[in-house]
């Protein structure tokens, strides 16, 4: 207890918050009490250390951010990841076995692909399961991943609120659930899938990790790329500090380890995986392929690399193959934002980028990120 009193006194002394009288008294006390003086000196030293630490830390952040920009611009060349020579030796050793395994895998996937393509009907939800939670369309082998809350949907007619009250305790009845994330924290623009917004005929709501709901408006929908941009219109929505992640302009590299955060259930869920192919379903270049698991509700989840670069948006999964998930490449976010910029009312959109996640443990990365990922609901 005495300790905290001392800290309080020293801090107020340093910050100049002491009155003149108090200051004299404090200095007097130090003079007559060497033990106290020693403690004050130690505390001053420690505060200085802490201050230096804070300064250097935030400078390192700024430095990383600038460097990341220059790297993506090509001004600085950096190898993405150092592979130790041992791995190469291993590879040489097991090359033959891998080749055999790969060819078997190849045959299997060709088989699957042929099965899939017989069912596919381009333009319709054929073999892709869209990952938003909507009613299941019969006979599909691929679904989009947002959730339709069937039981609730039945009561929608009687329960439709005229005005959406955001932070109110009564939660609105929603027809679907998906995920979205901030790309511009200054002007509150959020990205999600276009197929998610399709189901929001009456209203659209975003919900943060703490369960607070805010109303939003869909301002841009591109069905072809399955990308949509929302603007949070709620006055109660508190602005968040700058983005912890950066949005990558170039394509994902094969084998890159990634993680994602989304809302396949009523709370935020973490998932891991890797980039397994550079293109999407039927070689669609808008997408890349991930090996991970994704469920209904994951639609619109951000896909992040270990360095905190956002490389994609989870959209759909293949029904016939376990763990094959497709994500829209992040470059499409820039394209969409450019389109939005042309609109008169929304020309303020600006994708900012941060690198606050670099070099941190995964737990800390998630903590820093989760405020920027939202559940998208609507009716």
């Amino acid at each position: 207890m005495e300790d905290t009193l001392l800290i309080d006194a020293v801090e107020r002394f340093v910050n100049g918050e002491m009155s003149a009288q108090e200051k004299i008294y404090f200095e007097d006390l130090r003079k007559n009490n060497p033990e106290l003086d020693q403690a004050v000196v130690e505390q001053l030293f420690f505060l200085n250390e802490l201050n230096n630490y804070g300064g250097t830390k935030s400078f390192k952040h700024a430095l990383h951010e600038v460097e990341a920009n220059l790297v993506s611009e090509g001004f600085i060349s950096k190898a993405p990841a150092k592979q130790p020579a041992k791995v190469i030796q291993l590879w040489n050793k097991y090359k033959r076995i891998t080749a055999v395994a790969a060819s078997i895998a190849g045959l299997v996937s060709i088989f699957i692909a042929s099965v899939v393509s017989t069912v596919t009907n381009k333009g319709k939800e054929g073999d892709l399961k869209l990952l938003s939670d909507i009613t299941k369309i019969q006979g599909d082998s691929i679904n989009k991943m947002s959730i339709k809350l069937d039981s609730l949907a039945e009561s929608k007619n009687s329960n439709l609120p005229a005005v959406t009250k955001s932070t109110s305790v009564t939660k609105v009845v929603s027809k679907f659930r998906a995920t979205g994330f901030l790309i511009d924290p200054n002007n509150n623009y959020i990205v999600t899938n276009a197929h998610v917004i399709n189901d929001a005929k009456n209203y659209l709501i975003i919900e943060n990790n703490k369960g607070q709901q805010f109303s939003a408006r869909s301002i841009y929908v591109n069905k072809q790329n399955d990308i949509a941009i929302l603007k949070v219109t709620d006055k109660d929505f508190k602005k968040l500090p700058s983005l912890p992640y950066s949005i990558r302009k170039r394509n994902a590299d094969l084998g890159e380890q990634v993680f994602m955060l989304g809302f396949p259930k009523q709370e935020i869920v973490y998932g891991e995986g890797y980039v397994s192919a550079k293109n999407g379903f039927k070689m669609d270049t808008t997408y890349c392929q991930l090996n991970t698991s994704a469920n209904e509700g994951s639609s619109g989840s951000p896909v992040i690399t270990k360095n905190g670069e956002l490389i994609g948006i989870i959209t759909s999964a293949e029904n016939d193959a376990d763990g094959v998930v497709f994500a829209i490449k992040s470059a499409n976010i820039y394209r969409a934002a450019d389109e939005v910029k042309k609109m008169k009312d929304y020309s303020d959109i600006k994708i900012s980028s941060g690198s606050a996640l670099r070099g941190l443990s995964r737990e800390t990365q998630i903590k820093k990120m989760e405020d920027y990922v939202f559940m998208i609901k609507g009716n």
Binding site: I7, G54, K82
Partner: protein, 188 residues
């Protein structure tokens, strides 16, 4: 405006963590450092690391109250990077290259020594912060690094008022201090 004055402004920007200043220094001097490192058996990644460290040295220096750079910024950066890189080569037992003086250099031993001490303190604090756990870590970072107000912190962390948050912060600080000095004494 002459170069000297321009560089003075640039360094002031650096001290306040201004990103435009950081970027300008990168654009003007990075290539020089890159060729220094690459010509002396380093890679592009090494060059990027060395430059970053030199920027931190520069930042530490620029933050000092009566700071004055009595040579060109280019010379200073070159000297620092050269020293840092030779040191690194030495650590890797690859000190075979007698790096030619491609550019003018100034003595920077003092700066490097200072930087190493600061770097050491930084690591100690980082370790202590790593051990302290939540919510202490976030609380202390919010106050001492992000310099947020106590009222704001109380709201974000769900304390009923600023005074409660303050008490909690002091308790955390006492713990952090213990962790920090425990290591500090071990090192010395």
């Amino acid at each position: 405006m002459n170069t000297f004055e321009q560089e003075k402004i640039l360094l002031k920007g650096l001290a306040t963590e201004d990103k435009t200043s950081i970027e300008r220094i990168y654009r003007e001097h990075y290539n020089m450092v890159k060729s220094l490192v690459i010509n002396n058996s380093g890679s592009a990644d090494d060059a990027a690391d060395i430059f970053q460290e030199a920027m931190i040295v520069l930042f530490e220096k620029a933050k000092q109250e009566h700071f004055e750079l009595n040579c060109q910024l280019k010379t200073f950066i070159y000297s620092i990077c050269r020293r840092l890189w030779l040191k690194k080569l030495q650590q890797m037992n690859r000190y075979t290259v007698q790096s030619e003086h491609l550019e003018e250099t100034v003595p920077v031993e003092e700066e490097i020594e200072n930087h190493e001490k600061k770097q050491n303190d930084f690591t100690l604090m980082e370790n202590a912060m790593g051990k302290i756990g939540e919510p202490c870590k976030s609380l202390l970072e919010a106050y001492y690094i992000q310099k947020k107000h106590m009222q704001e912190i109380a709201a974000v962390f769900g304390y009923t008022n600023a005074d409660n948050a303050k008490t909690q912060k002091y308790k955390c600080l006492v713990r952090l201090k213990k962790l920090f000095f425990a290591q500090y004494k071990n090192v010395e």
